[in-house]
Each structure stands twice: as structure tokens, then as C-alpha cells.
Amino acid sequence: MSYKSEHHEENFFQKYVWSVDHKVIGIQYGVTSLLFLLFGFFLMMVMRYQLAYPETPIPIVGWFFSESNGIMLPENYNTLGAMHGTIMIFLGVVPLAVGAFGNYLVPLQIGAPDMAFPKLNAASYWSYFVGGVIMLASFFTPEGAARSGWTSYPPLSIFESGQTMWLCGMIFLITSSLLGSMNIIVTIVQLRAPGLTWFKLPFFIWAQLVTSFLLVLAFPPLEAASVLQLMDRVAGTSFFLPSGLVYAGSAVEAYGSGSPLLWQHLFWFLAHPEVYVLILPAIGIVGEIIANNTRKPLWGYKSMIYAISFLGFMSFIVWAHHMFLTGMGQTMSAFFQLTTMIISIPSVVVLTAFFLSLWGGSIRFNTPMLFALAFLPMFGIGGLTGLPLGVAASDIFLHDTYYVIGHFHYVVAPGTLFALFAGIYYWFPKVTGRKLSEGLGKLHFYPSLLFMNGVFMPMFIQGLSGLSRRMYDGGTQYAHASDILHWNEFMTISAFCLGAAQIPFILNIFITLASKKTGERNPWNSTTIEWSAPSPPLPHVNFDKDVEVFRGPYEYSVPGEDKDFCPQTEK
């Protein structure tokens, strides 16, 4: 094996665009998904402005609503809501967590030269790219973008405009996830370095493995459902259309005898495991950072692995807790309540293990650690507020209120996104050979934490008062909403401040990239294998010497050793 990267001259396109190197593809995924996150955030700011000041022209982007003099119409709001959800989940968080972090780090952390199927890896990125372009292009078609919510419930989604583009985009995105996660599974099973046995794998790798299994097995039913919905829209079938349907005042010309519930079952069969796809890589990242910055082993490493494996398995049999209000029957509700309560146990195991890992550690409060520490209570709030939604009796009251929005945003926004930020700060020195500035990092972290809560905490208050989601004016026509609607202005201001709080992060990246490269291999004194590679790792081969593994992943502060970390690759 040669350790020099193959020196046939590669031009710019071969090197950075059509590359099959997992590191380049990881960075491509990372940059694209961060841009999509920014775009999804921007859609949300427009929505929040509308909620705080309904019936007033939207500043700056009012030209987009030119036919109504800059005032947002209900259908525009629906479009923004549907596309915000779709973009954040399928084009932002999942590609960042699995595409970027998974691609870049999995081969490095297991001591492999690349992914098992490099060309498939590039195909996965480009399929994602095409899906993203289709989603973006749908805004500019005469029909406009999808407006039936990210869940696309029929029968409405069969009639509303924009949905066909959404379905085509989804088919590309699903294909991309499928190829990417297949690749990650094979890489982890087959390409582990000599000596790296299953229980010497870093926790992050386990999280990626379980995530990939969820993606491989849960996404295809949504692909099937998308094909069926496409048939309903394009070929005139009526899989999801019941008989005797009336739409916009006239009877629907269709064969009928289909079932809208069928879509919900197929959709949530994907979309519940999807929740764990969003959260597991985040847990993996937090595990790495906590072990490194407490300078002690992760507490309960094996029980956490068993917990997330069990979590992955259970996530396939909880989907109908999203459907308590569909009238599917008490037996079904009872079963899905039970499984939902059971699945909360492994999440609590993981969170408890993280808290216990902090105990007795000499904690270094650097930026990645701050984000990882903030993840714990934020994810805790998100998880615990989910319990009332998992019980049918209380869910009937809370369903489709702002409480639900608050709940899942606490899991994904200050939860997963904080973990992903932590990961970016933590692995940036490995990717670029330069450390991000701590000062700007803290300027990013503290306001973000504050304003995140400013956006989402009032949603619980509004939701418990019964305020429904998906209303373009925030629900001004409802009497019960009148004494809680004033929160909307507070939340909107928080959201804009949250946006401003991301400026130091963006500046930090560009300033650091412009600074001199130090190329330090192991700036955090970490034990896992990726830190023994050069920073940045060599193109196509990663490591400059043979990797052999002798130790477990988190041998920090081992008694009798002269330094407080023992890398996996050292005897």
C-alpha cells in the first residue's frame, strides 16, 4: 500500500466536483446541506413575520407576493410551511448528519482508506443534489411549490398544486439516502482496521450504523407511497381517494374506494424511524465530544449501544402514535401507546449515561463541549414533552396545536442542530487543519441558546391553551387564542435574533479558512482513530501509516499512564 496520494494530476473538476473521495463528498454534502438549512431558516423567518404581524406587507421579500401587494395569502403560508419542513428534514439535517458527518468520519474513525463503494457514494450525493434542485425549482414553476405540509396528507395533496414536483424530488432524495446508508453499513462491517472489534468502535460509529439500518429499511415504504401518490395525481388512480369526495364545492371525478389512512400508515412507517435518523447521529457526536472533554470514558458505553440498537428496532413499531385522531380504533391506539412508552426507555438510558459521564470529570468548556452540554437539557425537554403526545388521551387535546411544534423543534433544533454545531466545531481542525476561533464560537453559542428557547418555549404555552398550528394568521379569529397571541411577536423577534446569532458562526468559518494552516493532528488530545491521520487527511488514502487498533475508544485518564489519553492506535 502506498501512502502518497496517487499523483496523476487531477484538474479542479475531478478534484472538487466529480470526486469519489469520501472526504470531498462529505464536504460537498456539508456545504450543500448548510446552505439548505439557511434557506429553510429563511422561509421560517418569513412565516414568523407573518404570524407576528398578519395582514401587513412582508418587508424585503414582499415582491414574491406581488399579486397581493406584498401581503401573504393563506396558500403562500401553506407553501412556506410545507417547504420549510421538507427542506429542514430531507435536505438539511439528514444530509448534514448522515451525508456529511457519516461520509467524512466513518472511514476515518474505523481506519479505512475510503468508503466501500466510492462511486456509489458520489452517485448518492448527486442524487441528493438533483432532488434539492427539483425542490428549489418548484418554487418558480407556474403551480408553485408544494403546499400540503411535509406530511402531504391525501386527499388534499392529490388536488393541491405543486405536489408532483415534490414527489419527484422525494424519489431522488430517497434514492440518495438509500445509496448512502447502504454504503455506510458495508463500510462499517467490512472495512474496520485490524484489531478494531465491534466493542472497540466509537459510539458515533454505532449511532451511524443504527441510523443507516433505519434509512435502508424505513425509506422504501415512503418511496412506495410516493409512487402511489404520483399515480393518483398523474394517472388518475384513487389509492388515497375515498368514494363520494367533494373538493372545492364539486364532486370529485374519480373511481374512489381508496383510503387516505393508507398514506398515513405508509408515511409514518418511514417518518417515525426518521425521527431517530435525526437524533441518533446527534447522540453519537455528543458522545464523542463528552468523552473527550470530560477526559474520562463514556459512562455505560455498552449499555448505550444496546439502548440505541433497541431504539432502532422499536422505532419501526411506534408509527401510529401520530394517528391517534384518525379513528383507527382503541386496540391499535393501546398497542401504539404501549410501544411508545417502551421506546422512551432507551432514550432515557442514553441521556442518563451522558449525565453520569459528566460526573467527576474535569470538564473543558470549549465551544464544542458547550454545544454538546446544551444538547442534553434541550433534548431532554424535547423528549419529555413528547410523553403526553404518546398517550392517546392527552394527545387528543394536544394534537395539531403549537405544543406539538414546540416538542419536535426542541428535539431537532436545539437538540440535533446543537449537536451538529458541536460536531462542526470539534472536527473542523481535522477537515481543514485549522481550529475555529473560540471567541466567535462563544459569541455564536450563548445567544443561540438563549434565542432558541425564546422561539420555542412560548409554543408550549400557546399549544396548551389550544392554539392550532398551520393557521396563516396565527389564529386571530379564535377567542381562546386572544390572550396568548401576543407571544407571537416575542417569538418572531427571538427568531430574528437567532438568525443574527448565526453571523459569528459564518464569519468564524471564513476567517478561519483564510488563516494559516497549522495542520495539527490531534488538537483536542483525543483517542479515536481519525486523530492519528494528518489534518486534513491525505486524498484517497487518509492515513500515512498502517492503522492497527489496540485499545478501546475512550481510554482517557488511564491510571498509571503518563498522559491523560491513550490513542486507539498506540499500544
Binding site: M182, F219, P220, P221, L228, G236, T237, S257
Partner: protein, 200 residues
């Protein structure tokens, strides 16, 4: 990229090479794809009015589907034999059997073409009934899988296969083995489609 291990040789502790594991995971996801559609079929059949699926199902041609079933089963046998020929280093026989596999696949498509156009000429479309909708969706998706498989088979039957045979015969055998696994899976889907759509 040549440094990626276990492309052909098996990893001792897993007993697998990369592509074999990869294709099995891919097939697992395909099982979930068709599984989703089969459960949709079950769901819709239960929800449909009494006798509706029987009525529309009787419009399909059982003899044509039986012929197609035979075509696909035969193609699975010849697929295995082309792989075995490669393993026995008989390239001519490999080309013969792979060619037969391709012909069987094309015969399947031809019959399917006549089935579809026959339906259309009688004014039967996916929108005609729920049964016809699921029939066209399931068989249509299956036909797409057959077409995809045929592209791969023709690629390896043509000059690319001959070149690979000269340069790296083991790699060709590995590729044909993996393609074969996919091809058998597609046949198996048909073995399920045949009874639930035509016979039940």
C-alpha cells in the same frame, strides 16, 4: 482507490466481500419497497367492495402470465449457469447462457407490452378501478426493475464483459454473481405478483 480491501477476497471475520454484503442490503431495502406496495394491496383489497377485485382480476390473461412466469424461472436458471460457467473458466458458455437470460428477459417484456396494450385497447387504464391501479403500479415497477437488470446484463454480455474477462476474470465473476442475486430477487417478486394479481 485500489487500496480498498475486500473487494473480491472475503473478510475473514465476516466471511463476506463488500459487493455481496452490499447487494443483500440493497435487496433488503427492495423487500421493504415491494413490501410497502404489497401491504397497500392487502389494505385496498380489504377495503374494496365485495367481489370487486375478483371481477377486475378476471380481466387479466392467465396464460400470458403463466408464459411469463416460465420465462423468468428459465432466466434464473440460465443466470446461475452463466455464473457457474465463469467459475469453470468457460467464457463461451458464459456468453451463451447470459445471452439466453437476456432473451428470456426481453420475451417477458414483449409479453408484458402486449398485455398492457391489450388492456389499453379495451379502454382499461390505471384509473379504471383500484385493482387496475395497483396492477399497473406493481407490474410497472417490476418491469422497471427488469429493464434495469437487463441493462446491466447487456453491459456485461457486451464488450465491457469481454474486456473485464481478459483483465480481471475474478472481478467479472463477482459482478455476475451480484447481478444474479438481484436478478433472482426480481424473479421472486414476480412469483409473488403472479398469484396475487392473476390467480387470487
Amino acid at each position: 482507490m485500489s487500496s480498498i480491501p475486500y473487494i473480491l477476497e472475503e473478510r475473514p471475520d465476516t466471511g463476506l466481500n463488500n459487493s455481496r454484503l452490499g447487494i443483500w442490503i440493497f435487496i433488503a431495502s427492495e423487500v421493504m419497497l415491494f413490501g410497502g406496495l404489497f401491504s397497500a394491496y392487502v389494505f385496498l383489497r380489504f377495503a374494496a367492495p365485495e367481489g370487486e377485485f375478483d371481477y377486475w382480476g378476471s380481466k387479466l390473461s392467465v396464460p400470458m402470465a403463466t408464459f411469463n412466469t416460465l420465462m423468468l424461472i428459465t432466466s434464473s436458471v440460465t443466470m446461475i449457469m452463466s455464473w457457474a460457467s465463469l467459475k469453470m473458466k468457460q467464457f463461451d458458455k458464459y456468453k451463451l447462457y447470459l445471452g439466453l437470460t437476456i432473451l428470456c428477459g426481453m420475451a417477458f417484456l414483449a409479453v408484458k407490452y402486449f398485455e398492457y396494450t391489450g388492456k389499453f385497447s379495451h379502454g382499461i387504464y390505471p384509473a379504471s378501478s383500484t385493482f387496475m391501479g395497483i396492477y399497473f403500479t406493481l407490474t410497472g415497477l417490476h418491469v422497471l426493475h427488469i429493464i434495469g437488470g437487463l441493462f446491466v446484463l447487456i453491459y456485461f454480455w457486451g464488450p465491457a464483459g469481454s474486456r473485464m474477462w481478459k483483465e480481471n476474470p475474478d472481478l467479472l465473476a463477482n459482478r455476475i454473481e451480484v447481478t444474479g442475486l438481484y436478478w433472482h430477487f426480481v424473479d421472486l417478486v414476480w412469483i409473488f405478483l403472479f398469484p396475487i394479481l392473476y390467480l387470487l
